[in-house]
């Protein structure tokens, strides 16, 4: 039975090479990456054989904990497509225990599993210092592999089972973003530490803490033994083995449950009234604006950019603050970044509809109504944020005249982005995540249009804003009326590009309806 599962997994891996060239390329990149990481880790671990046991222990615990955490969280957040989902074997009538063992053994054959096996074996070399330590290291190495493989199997199944409903999937995407946001304070705190003076002590206390958790215990045991702390070594080994045992029980329990539970149905929420449709005018443009606004709030693909854009605009200032760039320079960063990203974010809007765009085609919707309607929510979000953000930045920089220049640059970038996007989303749609798929999953075939459209829109909206940016720069260096000219130039060029882009985009949309639908069908 186990041999059959192994063969199945090998066959699946082999078939992965029969797909499209781009997917094979991705697979090869993955293998090279995995082999590369494993190789460097092995070399580092062999090098640690000759290091001071304290340093070896602490660095191994910290790095190892991150690895175990990675094996646990990555499947949960990314919702990896599970080729060996236990439910696929439900109809074959295999005994639960044998299925659990077979699937775990099959899971050993994957790039991450093989990499962690190599790393675990190399960690034994690190601890070949005396017989007792080597023995503990051997047991730990086995426990490391078991912990990582079991943890990723358990969380993959949790992702496939508990999080299988649409709403739960959207929720995890948000959690993922929040985790990323929450990591940044940790980074800032760590950046405050004077590593030259008390770095080693800091690492020591982090490692000691992690050694008591299931993440670090398995890495700590041989290190404790090497430093002569045999009591601690056995305690940590006990924690590690208990972790493996609990994970095994969890895996078996989860598998037994999954086999007898059909896919979950989410409970549907009720919505009263027509929402945005009640608030916006009852004409095609107004309805499309209301539909787009509803999607910005309800569809995770839009909602994620609603979160990510302001966060990245602010997060980008963190490194500047950390290295000590003066306030009045840092204040220049967020507003233009926000405007640029928001203007750029709608450049493939039609593709987000997928084939649902047939309704616009079949009803003979005019291009202008479509183009303006789609821009509406981004405009309503963008303009106030740019104005308020500019005043806030001016206050932060302690120079009120800066507000006008920032508004000018912001509007120039935003409107240029909108104008160019109006053309590109009608003329050069490329496949995106389909409605209802996980927000971080990727479409099958993206091709060269994606990279081309993305970079051209991005660079062009900067180029179109260069006059405004230049005027603002003059104001920054020489003062005087230049800031006022930047405001006027920004609003002027922005409006020009926006109006031109919408006019051209409208003509394209009206003419190319069937072609847009055809390109959406390629990704349906």
């Amino acid at each position: 039975m186990v041999a059959q599962f192994l063969r199945l997994k090998l066959r699946l891996l082999g078939n992965a090479f029969k797909r499209s060239p781009w997917q094979i390329f991705g697979l090869i990149v993955g293998i090279v990456y995995g082999v590369g990481i494993a190789f460097f880790a092995v070399v580092a671990l062999i090098g640690l054989r000759f290091a001071d046991p304290d340093i070896a222990r602490n660095s191994l615990i910290i790095a190892g904990s991150v690895v175990v955490l990675g094996f646990t969280l990555v499947p949960l957040v990314l919702g990896i497509d599970d080729t060996l989902d236990p439910r696929r074997f439900a109809l074959f009538g295999i005994d639960n225990r044998r299925l659990a063992v077979g699937l775990i053994v099959a899971a050993m054959i994957s790039i991450p599993s093989l990499a962690i096996t190599a790393i675990a074996l190399a960690s034994v070399i690190t601890w070949t210092r005396d017989v007792g330590t080597t023995l503990i290291a051997l047991v730990s190495a086995l426990a490391i592999v078991a912990t990582c493989v079991l943890a990723s199997r358990v969380t993959t199944s949790v992702a496939a089972y508990v999080l299988s409903t649409r709403r739960a999937r959207e929720f995890t995407a948000l959690v993922g973003i929040l985790v990323i946001v929450m990591i940044s304070p940790v980074v800032i705190i760590l950046s405050e530490v004077d590593w030259g003076r008390d770095g080693a002590r800091m690492l020591g206390s982090i490692a000691d803490g992690l050694a008591w958790t299931p993440l670090g215990a398995v890495w700590a045991a041989p290190g404790d033994a090497a430093t002569g702390e045999w009591g601690l070594a056995f305690l940590h080994l006990l924690i590690a083995l208990a972790t493996v045992g609990l994970l095994w029980l969890a895996w078996q329990g989860l598998l037994a449950r999954m086999l007898v539970t059909p896919e979950r149905e989410g409970r549907a929420k009720k919505y009263e009234g027509l929402g945005w449709f009640d608030r916006l005018p009852a004409n095609p443009g107004g309805a499309i604006a209301a539909r787009t606004a509803t999607y910005w709030l309800r569809d995770p693909r839009y909602r994620n950019s609603l979160f990510i854009i302001p966060i990245s605009a602010i997060a980008l200032t963190i490194p500047f603050v950390v290295v000590g760039v003066p306030h009045h320079v840092v204040a220049l960063v967020p507003v233009p970044v926000f405007a640029l990203l928001l203007g750029w974010s709608v450049h493939n809007d039609v593709a987000y509809d997928n084939t649902a765009v047939w309704l616009h085609v079949a009803s003979g919707t005019r291009g202008r109504a479509d183009r303006l309607g789609r821009l509406f929510p981004a405009l309503v979000i963008g303009i106030p944020v740019i104005v308020a953000g500019s005043f806030f930045a001016a206050w932060y920089a302690d120079d009120w005249s800066l507000a006008g220049a920032l508004i000018g640059v912001g509007i120039a970038l935003l409107f240029s982005g909108f104008g160019l996007s109006s053309v590109s989303s009608a003329r050069f749609p490329y496949p995106v995540v389909r409605p209802g798929d996980g927000a971080f999953s990727q479409p099958q075939n993206t091709g060269a249009t994606m990279a081309l459209a993305q970079s051209i829109i991005f660079v062009s909206s900067v180029i179109l804003s260069l006059p405004t940016i230049g005027l603002a720069a003059l104001g920054f260096f020489y003062g005087g009326d230049w800031y006022m000219w930047a405001l006027l130039a920004g609003v002027g060029t922005g409006l020009l590009v926006l109006i031109g882009g919408v006019a051209l985009g409208s003509r394209i949309f009206s003419r190319r309806g069937p072609e847009m639908l055809a390109s959406a069908l390629l990704n349906s």
Binding site: A268, L274, P284, R291, A362, R366, G513
Partner: protein
Amino acid sequence: MKAEPTAEPPAKPEKAEPVEQSPRAEKAPAAKSSPQFSQIVLSMTGLSKRFGDKVAVDAIDLSVPTGSFYGIVGPNGAGKTTTLSMVTGLLRPDSGTVTVHGIDVWKEPERAKRSIGVLPDALKLFDRLTGAQLLYYSGVLRGLDRDTVVKRSADLVTAFGIDDAVNRLVTDYSAGMTKKIALAAAMIHSPRLLVLDEPFESVDPVSAANLIEILQRYVESGGTVVLSSHGMDFIQRVCDHVAVIVGGHVLASGTMDEVRGEQTLEDRFVELAGGRKAAEGMEWLHSFSD
């Protein structure tokens, strides 16, 4: 190992039964006399489409009389969806013309599309909207004002029996419910011509009977329905005109009686489509493995 026996699937008569029991069923559509169909609402001439090397639709000529209930039947991949997509302005033909109520669909798309209601097969809907929002959206895109849309939405919701679903997101609907809301959205602007691609797939028999009744009333009041299906019994019972499309060609078209003659539509169709394949070589299926 579940090989499908090639004999007649038993599901078809089952699906049809509840409809036949409805009072509507006695009304034989073919009873309509021919002078009633003197005007042509939809005409296709020389309509062709190829995808790469494969000719999907090959110079189809077809006329659909006003007030007819027109069925298009054909095996999978015959070109039904391709033809209907070209009629509704969703797929640009390689050559040929389509006129609806005398207006060329591909020369004056905006004017022509006003008279057409569309239910495509296998295309998505804006499913993050609630049912009510989708109806409103479809109505307003078609140029209706707020009061009209709201009133018609309410009527459609009652007629289609989807009251309890209109405030839920369309993405949470079952397949049959989705078809119903899409059909309601296709009718909201009271089009002259309804083009429906596989309208009753995955709709339960009771709802199907209900929808057929709505469509028959629409036809009685002068509207025209063109629909595609592989359900022969269904087409024979409901439609008064039929066209058989196989391999991108129209093999037969006209009133139901003209096309089927003395046979059932199903027998006539199988004859046109190249005869029944003998269900041989599966003897192992007749002795069971346990």
